[in-house]
């Protein structure tokens, strides 16, 4: 059921915070298929209203926020011991990146290294002689 008019207006006042909360609460599967259109529909607002409000209040586009959260979750999954052998392609798909090459490119752009290298380095023990190894290469 749609909220009544006044309540809807009141809710729109802190809409962006609720959108952030909604995104952060979403499961990996939900996040992978999330779009600005779906979020707008969920909060019963237009896409243009949502985008404008988010940009004006957070100084960031909602699309970028979704992207950043996907990148972050991908890195988080890579850093978990449980996923030490996870297939990178499958991981990308889990986060909604169905084009493997695109996933590798955007991950590298964001973290500075490829997902497989990221996994290698986060699983190195703190205090290892990484600096020396790097200098020797």
């Amino acid at each position: 059921m749609k909220p009544p008019g006044l309540l809807n207006v009141m809710r729109k006042n802190n809409l962006t915070d609720r959108v952030v909360e909604y995104l952060l609460k979403s499961t990996d599967d939900e996040l992978s298929s999330l779009s600005v259109e779906k979020i707008a529909k969920h909060f019963d607002v237009s896409v243009s209203f949502l985008c404008r409000k988010f940009r004006n209040e957070k100084y960031f586009t909602i699309g970028k926020f979704i992207f950043k959260e996907r990148m972050f979750r991908a890195a988080q999954l890579l850093s978990e011991d449980l996923n030490i052998n996870i297939n990178i392609k499958a991981l990308g798909e889990k986060m909604g990146f169905y084009d493997y090459d695109y996933f590798i490119r955007v991950f590298k752009n964001y973290y500075g290294i490829s997902p497989s290298r990221y996994r290698e380095c986060v699983h190195k023990k703190p205090g290892s002689s990484e600096a020396h190894k790097i200098r020797e290469q």
Binding site: D17, E21, F72, S116, V122, P126, G127, A131, I134
Partner: protein, 120 residues
Amino acid sequence: MKKNTGPIPFHEKVAIYILSRGIEELGTLTSEAVAEALGVPLPKLLKTFAVHQHITLDRFIMREKIHRAIFTIDKDQAVSLESLSGKLGFKRMDEFETQFRNYLHIAPHLYKEIRRSKGL
């Protein structure tokens, strides 16, 4: 685990060095310390990193600190934000809150609440 082969570009070595630090090492990490550890002059390091990674080294380190904060909260919702902030090298709690909010657009204690309510 599949190994990467081939020489690692310098800017990637810098990212690897930072990402493989433990949380407390990261807390005291500065651009100067990275330059010293990798044996390169600081100006060269800063320039090369920014050109290739499209982010300044200081911002990269800060972003990684916030990532670690989020990882830690996700793993242990009983963690004290004050102690986490201290471990990550923030001298004041409000400095940590500002950086956290800049990254996630939400205060750390609210994030903790969200994670708790999500039951992760």
